[in-house]
């Protein structure tokens, strides 16, 4: 059975490793601020006790005040799973550091988020629209995108 990590304990382990950043672990996920998301992800994959080496799913959701980026992670060795989220409050041009250098599987999923939500990922290895064509204006999966022709 894939055990879900106990979030407060995970929060303790991470804040011991990275003293400066603040993480919330209230509900069923870990909430991290976008700036130090990259550092947290590095720790998650490098710590031998956690070792979240399998990025199952990376997606986004457009809420009224922020765009939420959701990481579903798995550890193949320990057979555990975790959900880590970050919220981009600036909805005009949301920006975030890309995690391609940590998980190669994130490349296509980040391109999809850029294409359908407009979230720009810094130092991504080839950030282009994946599904729509270059001249398409607007980001379809945003709630304010009118679905007409």
């Amino acid at each position: 059975m894939t055990a879900v990590l106990d979030y407060p304990q995970l929060k303790a382990a991470l804040s011991k490793e990275l003293p400066g950043i603040e993480i919330q672990a209230d509900g069923s996920f870990l909430l991290v601020s976008p700036e130090d998301m990259h550092k947290v992800c590095e720790r998650l994959t490098s710590l031998p006790s956690i070792q979240m080496d399998y990025l199952t799913n990376l997606t986004a959701a457009d809420y009224s005040e922020y765009i939420e980026i959701i990481f579903h992670l798995n550890s193949i060795t320990h057979n555990t799973s975790a959900t880590v989220k970050t919220r981009l409050t600036d909805k005009k041009n949301p920006k975030m550091a890309s995690v391609v250098d940590i998980w190669r599987g994130a490349e296509l999923q980040e391109r999809e988020i850029y294409d359908l939500f407009g979230v720009f990922f810094e130092n991504h290895i080839g950030l282009k629209r994946i599904f729509l064509w270059e001249g398409f204006e607007g980001y379809p999966l945003r709630k304010d995108f009118v679905n007409g022709h």
Binding site: W133, E134, G135
Partner: protein, 200 residues
Amino acid sequence: MELNFEKPLSLLTLDEIDQQEGGVIQSFRTGHTSPYPDPADWLNGEEPPPGVFITSVEKVLNWSRHYSLWPVMFGLACCAIEMMCMAASRWDLARFGMDIFRASPRQADLMIVAGTLTWKMAPWLKRIYDQMPEPKWVLAMGACGTSGGLFRDSYSVVPGFNLVVPVDVYVPGCPPRPEALMRAIMDIHEKIDKTRILKR
């Protein structure tokens, strides 16, 4: 609609090529809003004049086109699987002489467009249609062909193939059963038998 590059293709960076293609798709989308009229001139043709020689030549030529209709592979989505099932052993399409699925449009007569057509794919469909030599027919397979089907109000789906190419036969169903597709191909055979070679 041609992708006319000023510089040769190999010197262009990939982003410039993408920009060019994006521009083509965008202009294609705005340019194609009204559907092509369905070619139905064979319907109201009056009986051919009594000249024996003309009708028998026409009969032979139509017979040869009827039995040697080579389809071009244009499988887009789920309908393509049903098209393959029809070409497989149970509903063998080869009985009608159509077993060679030509990969290159130059040698094909019939284009079975099977699946959902998106605006990004539309210019390619038009180009493949233009590349096919003259006596050619189009069979729009599935609900996506007639009206965009399940995805009609999506931002990236062409609502009906007749916006892009003149369609001869529409096949309802999502996906239509192989028997329905076979029936549509027989409709095309009927159409071929009735066409007048020498336009009067």
